[in-house]
């Protein structure tokens, strides 16, 4: 068990806690962001191999047995950027919601139901 895996899952659950309990939309988005970060940590933790270094094949690194798995690193890069895009969009929504109703309380947006 890697400490970083545990940390990732803790962040995911913490983020979810934030999303479920905070009333302020901005805080909910922060919760989402925390959850997202937790996921990224998990991805990175998957690629990690003990006692190895980054997969940059310069002169310091001689052969394949000295580097970690480059795939999760590549994936996490994509995931981070996408997470950024989604968060930005959520924030935009928050701005728009505030603009319309002058409130950021999630309980104030319940027109549609049933």
């Amino acid at each position: 068990m890697l400490i970083i895996t545990v940390l990732g899952i803790i962040l995911v659950v913490l983020g979810l806690w934030g999303m479920l309990t905070q009333k302020n939309i901005i805080k909910i988005i922060i919760g989402f962001s925390i959850m997202d970060t937790g996921t990224h940590l998990l991805i990175v933790s998957i690629g990690y191999i003990k006692d190895r270094t980054a997969p940059i094949m310069d002169k310091a690194v001689g052969n394949a047995s000295q580097v970690i798995d480059p795939v999760p690193s590549a994936l996490v890069l994509t995931a981070i950027v996408i997470g950024l895009a989604v968060t930005a969009l959520m924030l935009t929504y928050a701005i728009k919601l505030f603009e319309i109703r002058k409130s950021l309380d999630i309980n104030d947006f319940k027109e549609l139901k049933w």
């Binding site: 899952i9 659950v13 479920l20 191999i49 940059i56 994509t78 950027v81 701005i95």
Partner: protein, 228 residues
């Protein structure tokens, strides 16, 4: 607080559910099947010293193109969304302090330079187009903070964004036409391993991504700033 209790119980069950991921899953002992090939053959096949870059730009190039697209869509979405320009003037904001303004003047060129350096050397050192783009955007953000009344040349942003995106796609097509497949970087010579001009089209792609990401992030910042 029955509701809180429900949430806690659910989350506890979620943790119980996720427990096997912590207890059962061990980290890799060795490279996976795919990454073995990347690590062993990557440097020769693609000529990129940074293997993460090789994976990002070429092996999984379509992901990256998609990723660029996501960012592009988010920018477009935000621009689409916040179309209403704020009517009120922004001069109610207090001007930034002298320290910030001087610091900005001093740091901005360096930050921009660092950004360019990062994306140009994406195939050699840690970093790449996205990181470079973000650094560039952070420089502009600093500028915005320092001079809140500054007008960003939106039209220029569009041009950079659109053209760099289009060229990225064109490079992809060139890969399809001249080399092994869409987004193959090997239609340009691989050059000397470890040099700036190496790894085929990777530096070009990363530069385009860097420009595009930079422009997009600036666009997002600009939109959000204007709408407040």
């Amino acid at each position: 607080m029955v509701k809180q209790l429900f949430i806690i119980i659910t989350l506890v069950f979620l943790v119980i559910m996720l427990l096997p991921l912590m207890t059962e899953v061990k980290p890799f002992e060795d490279l996976s099947l795919v990454s073995q090939k990347y690590v062993n053959a990557g440097p020769d096949e693609l000529g990129s010293q940074n293997l993460v870059t090789a994976v990002v730009v070429t092996y999984r190039g379509l992901d990256t193109l998609g990723e660029v697209a996501v960012l592009f869509i988010a920018t477009a979405g935000i621009g689409f969304f916040l179309r209403k320009k704020a009517v009120e003037e922004k001069d109610m904001k207090s001007k930034a302090s002298v320290l910030v303004r001087t610091g900005t003047a001093l740091l901005l060129p360096l930050i921009l330079l660092l950004g360019v350096y990062i994306f140009l050397h994406g195939h050699l050192t840690p970093g790449g187009g996205f990181q470079g783009g973000v650094v560039i955007a952070s420089g502009i953000l600093l500028l915005m903070l320092a001079q809140s009344d500054i007008k960003i040349n939106i039209s220029l942003l569009y041009w950079i964004e659109s053209l760099s995106g289009a060229f990225y796609v064109i490079i992809g097509i060139l890969g399809l036409a001249l080399a092994g497949g869409f987004l193959d970087n090997r239609f340009l010579p691989l050059g000397d391993f470890g040099r700036l001009f190496s790894a085929g089209a990777i530096p070009i792609i990363y530069s385009l991504i860097g420009l595009k990401v930079g422009a997009e992030l600036v666009g997002i910042l600009n939109n959000m700033q204007r709408s407040q």
